[in-house]
């Protein structure tokens, strides 16, 4: 049993944190929405050899890929890091996202000339043949509608679902960090708001939910990289947890910040808005949970007891 990522992965994450901070951190999102390109980001990630990682074939690379996604999330990086790392260029695609129904893909138009594919999440993928303009909305600024080509078998859905959870993990980590700082700095009734027990307890509960999700992302990474029998269920369970904890963390962060938290002058607003495409695409909470239950009819939710198959669990109390 080991619950921490490799030192290699953590070191790459630290280097990437530093590099992205030097480029401007969350200001990169502000710049991207103002129309600036992401050439600097492309250059830095290339210098760090991020695109040489092959998480689908190397578990060690998989841990580094997850750590890189978390670092990207910490600054709400307007760049398809998770999507690129989930794809294998040797299979003809540079980036892959999961989408169903009318295919809307986050960050698909940010980097020119990438070969994109869309996975349906259950074993098929199709190439993106054309990309529409970015929606430019508050919650989907860099989301575009895409047209798809012919479908073919696909084995990348698990990473394509899991790595965005790691990006979201990074976003939540920053949201909690800025919330803690705000609680210590903001004074009301002649004292820091951190001195109010109701707010302390809310921070404790929210942090507990965050830590639980953080551990689950590592468990799911292990499950996917080592191809555990329940991996297909595990990624959906991880996404369910991600969507729930994102609601919890951002609700707490906004409440603690008060009105200033909605203003684009503070990073929280950007983190909150840029988390939305990850949380709504390809499926929201109820849809994801429904798919999880459906998948559990033939893939186990493994635990300490039983096979976790809906309707056919072989474990009963009679042993």
């Amino acid at each position: 049993m080991k619950t921490q990522l490799t030192e290699d992965a953590l070191e790459l994450e630290r280097v990437m944190d530093t590099a992205l901070r030097r480029l401007g951190g969350v200001d990169l999102a502000r710049a991207a929405e103002a129309g600036a390109g992401v050439a600097d980001v492309t250059a830095v990630l290339g210098q760090l050899d991020v695109w040489d990682l092959r998480p689908r074939t190397s578990p060690g690379d998989g841990e580094m890929a997850a750590a890189v996604c978390r670092a990207a999330g910490r600054v709400a990086l307007p760049y398809p890091v998770a999507e690129r790392l989930a794809a294998d260029p040797d299979e003809g695609f540079d980036a892959i996202a999961v989408a169903t129904g009318p295919a809307r893909v986050n960050l698909v138009g940010v980097v020119p000339d990438l070969r994109w594919a869309v996975s349906d999440g259950v074993g098929s993928r199709a190439p993106v043949v054309s990309v529409g303009p970015a929606l430019g909305t508050k919650l989907g600024a860099l989301v575009s509608e895409v047209e798809l080509g012919e479908s073919e078998p696909d084995g990348s859905a698990r990473l394509a679902l899991l790595l965005p959870c790691w990006t979201l993990l990074g976003m939540l980590e920053t949201a909690l960090a800025v919330t803690r700082r705000h609680m210590l700095d903001r004074r009301q009734f002649d004292q820091p708001i951190a001195s109010f027990q109701a707010l302390q307890f809310r921070l404790a509960d929210t942090t507990t939910s965050f830590q639980a999700f953080e551990e689950l992302t590592k468990y799911t990474l292990w499950s996917v990289l080592s191809q555990q029998p329940g991996a297909a269920v595990d990624v959906l369970a991880c996404r369910v947890a991600a969507l729930e904890v994102a609601e919890t963390v951002f609700r707490t962060s906004h409440q603690m910040h008060g009105a200033v938290g909605f203003c684009d002058e503070v990073d929280l607003s950007w983190l909150s808005r840029y988390s939305q495409p990850i949380r709504r695409l390809p499926w929201g909470l109820s849809q994801t949970r429904s798919r999880l239950l459906q998948t559990m009819t033939d893939v186990p939710f493994t635990g300490l007891h039983g096979d976790g198959l809906v309707g056919s669990a072989n474990q009963s109390l009679t042993r």
Binding site: P59, G60, D205, K218, A237, L317
Partner: protein
């Protein structure tokens, strides 16, 4: 539990090691052989349940599995934290067939090893390791719950020793205990954490009276214990006089993770589809969604426990880490209890068929889960611990 190694170094790994897996299987085999499926804990109205637990403890002791964490010289085998985790999980999942023994095994024994005299070690450790003695914990008082250091039960000097007067409350297993690990105030002039002394007191000593408290959690869990002029001597003192508080803090830290509540939740949730049979198909979709959410919560609670254990192994654990685990684990226990009660529908208020094991187990779990956020440090205390750690200025 084993460690994965490949080109990138030591990777995350969440499966049992070969040793842990073998231990888990050995424990399950022992439970299958010695504990009937109808067993729902030692503390029932049926005295045979307690007898069964006592017998099972002796079996575990013979197999070397009652005190696995103890050093070999005291009857253990220095089990790793991960092996201890397997024991905690398997015992709790199967309704704690060690009965009241886990208290003696998990922290009374280790406290005796650390602070006891040679005479105390010789008198007690062998019997705890053999599973033949029950201890109770004389901690809480009517005016000292979460604020334990406010305890008032007094040991007043009398001749060569002391006489103890006062009252303890919520004392589990006091009716059946042979010994009490008793906290008393020996110095009223000192700061409240500094005048506390621990006495190891046999429960048959004159002046001790136990009054059971009827409660929803069931018999034997809650008692009052009255002390009236109970004589004790220097030989009964654990550690130094007036230095009991630090022993208590250290003793309870032996058990950072505590009860593996998630393990029973895991077992009951997984049993639900088969146990409900045809009824499963008729459950509302919303309830099935709560069920799968509960499975996720249980997995998260287990992973938070593993996080603490990993931090213990590397010597970097902080009380705030334990607090986060306890907040998650106790709330999950109650959330699971609610889901399971909904699943058994009308049988939630009582199974008319004694053979309806699942409904009985769900009933037992729900009643016990009510205390999850109160016992062993209330959830509010855990929140205080965690938030103060988070908000301290660096």
């Amino acid at each position: 539990m084993h460690v994965g190694v490949d080109d990138g170094g030591v990777r995350v790994e969440f499966s049992d090691s070969e040793r842990s897996a073998a231990l888990r299987e050995e424990l399950r085999a022992l439970v299958r052989e010695h504990v009937p499926p109808t067993f729902l804990g030692a503390f029932t109205k049926n005295p045979q349940d307690l007898e069964l637990a006592q017998s099972f403890c002796r079996t575990l002791a013979e197999k070397g599995q009652l005190t696995p964490a103890w050093p070999a010289e005291f009857g253990g085998y220095d089990a790793t934290p991960w092996e201890q985790t397997v024991v905690r999980e398997e015992m709790w999942a199967h309704f704690e067939p060690r009965g009241a023994q886990y208290m003696g095994v998990n922290w009374v024994g280790p406290a005796l090893m650390r602070f006891g005299t040679e005479q105390q070690k010789a008198e007690h450790l062998g019997r705890i390791a053999a599973g033949t003695v029950i201890w109770c914990q004389g901690f809480s008082e009517p005016e000292a719950g979460s604020d334990l250091a406010s305890l008032r039960t007094a040991a007043v000097p009398d001749g060569d020793g002391w006489r103890i007067d006062g009252q303890k409350v919520w004392t589990s297993y006091a009716t059946m205990a042979d010994w009490c690990f008793l906290l008393t105030r020996t110095n009223r002039d000192a700061a409240k954490h500094k005048g506390i002394t621990i006495f190891l007191v046999p429960m048959d000593r004159p002046g001790i009276k136990v009054v059971p408290i009827d409660a929803m959690v069931g018999p034997h869990h809650l008692n009052e214990v009255f002390f009236e002029g109970v004589p004790v001597t220097q030989a009964d003192v654990l550690g130094e006089v007036d230095a009991g508080w630090s022993i208590v803090r250290e003793a309870l830290a032996f058990e950072r993770v505590g009860i593996a509540r998630y393990a029973r939740c895991d077992r009951l949730l997984n049993a639900a589809p088969a146990a409900l049979g045809d009824r499963w198909a008729t459950l509302p979709d919303e309830l099935k969604q709560r069920w799968v959410t509960a499975l996720i919560r249980v997995r998260e609670a287990r992973l938070l426990a593993y996080r603490v254990i990993d931090l213990v192994e590397t010597g970097t654990v902080d009380p705030a880490d334990t607090a986060a685990y306890r907040i998650a684990a106790t709330q999950t226990d109650q959330e699971v209890a609610e889901v399971l009660m909904d699943m058994v529908e009308e049988r939630a208020v009582g199974a008319s068929d004694p053979a309806d094991l699942f409904a009985r187990a769900v009933d037992d779990h729900w009643r016990y889960a009510q205390a999850a956020t109160v016992a062993s440090g209330s959830i509010e205390v855990q929140r205080l611990l965690l938030s103060r750690s988070l908000l301290k200025t660096k």
